[in-house]
């Protein structure tokens, strides 16, 4: 993918796919996350993480349901930490980054 890469996306209004989450999430997961199956709690659509609509990368990656755009996850990378928030609520996990 991304021969054009994430380079333009700061000024882009369009989204990428959940495929683009593979690298960032590989810092905290031991299996490839893009084939993870998911059911949207809002609209009931099922699919893989790779099919999410991903906005960003700045100020963070926002993954949304391709059916109804409900929040699926937010991922923020900071120098010492990676923050991961699953779903639309407020509680986030903060992971240490090497």
């Amino acid at each position: 993918m991304r021969s054009l890469s994430l380079e333009n996306t700061v000024t882009s209004l369009s989204h990428l796919d959940g495929n683009s989450l593979a690298g960032p999430l590989s810092q905290i997961l031991s299996v490839d996350p893009t084939t993870a199956w998911r059911r949207c709690p809002r609209c009931g659509l099922t699919g893989s993480l790779a099919q999410l609509h991903v906005y960003g990368p700045e100020p963070g990656l926002t993954g949304r349901c391709p059916g109804c755009e409900a929040l699926a996850l937010r991922l923020v990378e900071q120098p010492g930490h990676l923050w991961l928030q699953m779903g639309g609520g407020q509680g986030a996990f903060r992971f240490p980054r090497s």
């Binding site: 700061v10 000024t11 882009s12 209004l13 989204h15 609509h53 906005y55 960003g56 700045e58 100020p59 963070g60 926002t62 949304r64 755009e69 929040l71 937010r74 991922l75 923020v76 900071q78 120098p79 930490h81 923050w83 928030q85 639309g88 407020q90 509680g91 986030a92 903060r94």
Partner: protein, 199 residues
Amino acid sequence: MSNFSPGFHGRTHRFEGRLPPGQYPTESFPVLSAGPTPHVPTEDWSFTVTAEQGRARRWDWEEMMSLPQEEVTVDIHCVTRWSKFDTVWRGVSVDTFLDGVETTADFAVAHGEGGYTTNLPLEDLRGGKAWLVHTYDGFPLSPEHGGPVRLLVPHLYFWKSAKWVTGLSLTLQDEPGFWEAAGYHNYGDPWREQRAWSD
């Protein structure tokens, strides 16, 4: 001393003292998105202030436009490190909306179309420091920049200036918003470089 370009000082000198630490000046106006861009017709737009007891006041587009309008020229600073100087906006001071609202709340949550939220101390929305703006650089604010109406709080990082603003909830407790809950600083002062939660 060169004989060419007398008086030319380049770009950075012009903004000496106006560029917060870790920022660079930009002429462009980058768009950052966390979701699809909503297109809200002005006739469907409204803004609601809800006090902590649940009492709400609501303004539609025409009511908002009939309030006293102000033109402000301010510098804005994005946490992704760009700063833009002398941006010109037109809109209504948040003071005008809060005038007559009975509250003992210390905090506020701004709500944007599509579920975006950001939290601020109520103090930072009062005293001529924040506006609801509908015009940028003489033109109606475009959807990608938060139109028809966005919040403008120029003394904080720009994620606090919620796009597509639809409401303000006044709260007794501080409630982290969309990015604040995901690792960004709770207050976000660019001059103290409050980017991450722990800065």
